[in-house]
């Protein structure tokens, strides 16, 4: 997964970058399953790999003439950014290793779909409804943005 994330950040061709992103997302789904969140891993596969990634690929194909896909992923200021972000990474890793995380030994993973569904319809019913509203507004907004540009 880390290798794929490296590919997303470093390749020069944005199509390769998109396929590396697919590797990173699949790796994240595997980690979710490893952590006992099987339902979340499935959602990751469906929404990210099936939805967002295909949408990104469509956008790449629509916004580039096929001929200049090769030169389309310029990066600037890599050296400075690498140094600064390396510092950030070192700091984060130190915190992660030094801190004493309070952990409990919970039961080994069991199927989580029932619990997640119950939580959504009992404790989290208001965020659930707000989320559906947000998605509706986002869809309408996306349609309006694209249509306005088409007309203008």
């Amino acid at each position: 997964m880390t290798a794929s994330a490296l590919g997303v950040a470093l390749t020069h061709n944005i199509v390769y970058s998109a396929f590396a992103l697919m590797g990173a997302l699949l790796g994240a789904a595997g980690i979710f399953v490893l952590l006992g969140a099987d339902f979340l891993g499935l959602i990751q596969l469906l929404v990210y790999v099936g939805g967002i990634l295909v949408l990104s690929l469509f956008a790449i194909m629509l916004t580039h003439r096929i001929a200049d896909v090769q030169v389309s992923n310029r990066s600037v200021g890599r050296g400075v950014a690498a140094v600064l972000i390396g510092l950030v990474l070192v700091g984060l890793t130190r915190v992660a290793v030094r801190a004493t995380w309070v952990t409990t030994d919970v039961a080994p993973p069991a199927p989580t779909t029932y619990g997640v569904g119950t939580a959504f319809l009992s404790d989290f019913v208001l965020p659930f409804e707000v989320a559906s509203l947000v998605l509706l507004v986002a869809l309408i907004g996306a349609v309006m943005v694209s249509r306005k540009e088409l007309r203008g």
Binding site: I14, F32, V47, V106, P108, V134, L135, E149
Partner: protein, 103 residues
Amino acid sequence: MDGLSVQHFIVLSAIVFCLGLFCVVTRRNALGILMGIELILNSANINYVAFARYGGSGYDGQIFAIFVIMLAAAEAAIGLAIVLGIYQMFDTIDVDATDRLRG
């Protein structure tokens, strides 16, 4: 779960977060920046799920991760629509070239 502790997942998440940040900072392609944002959101999700697994707080972490995935989907839809609009107006999606606010 032998030998794996919450630190491993936090460090992995930090690495992915830094790569996403690097992507956002250095890319001049709007789609590349959106991909970096997806990486950052994924690293946050890994943290949520790891703490849900090791912190013993039930399903709260997983539900937050589902909300993050939902918001990422909405953000990708809006962001890609905006990128397509920029492309139609400027004929490029290089974020350094799109410096004109007037339509």
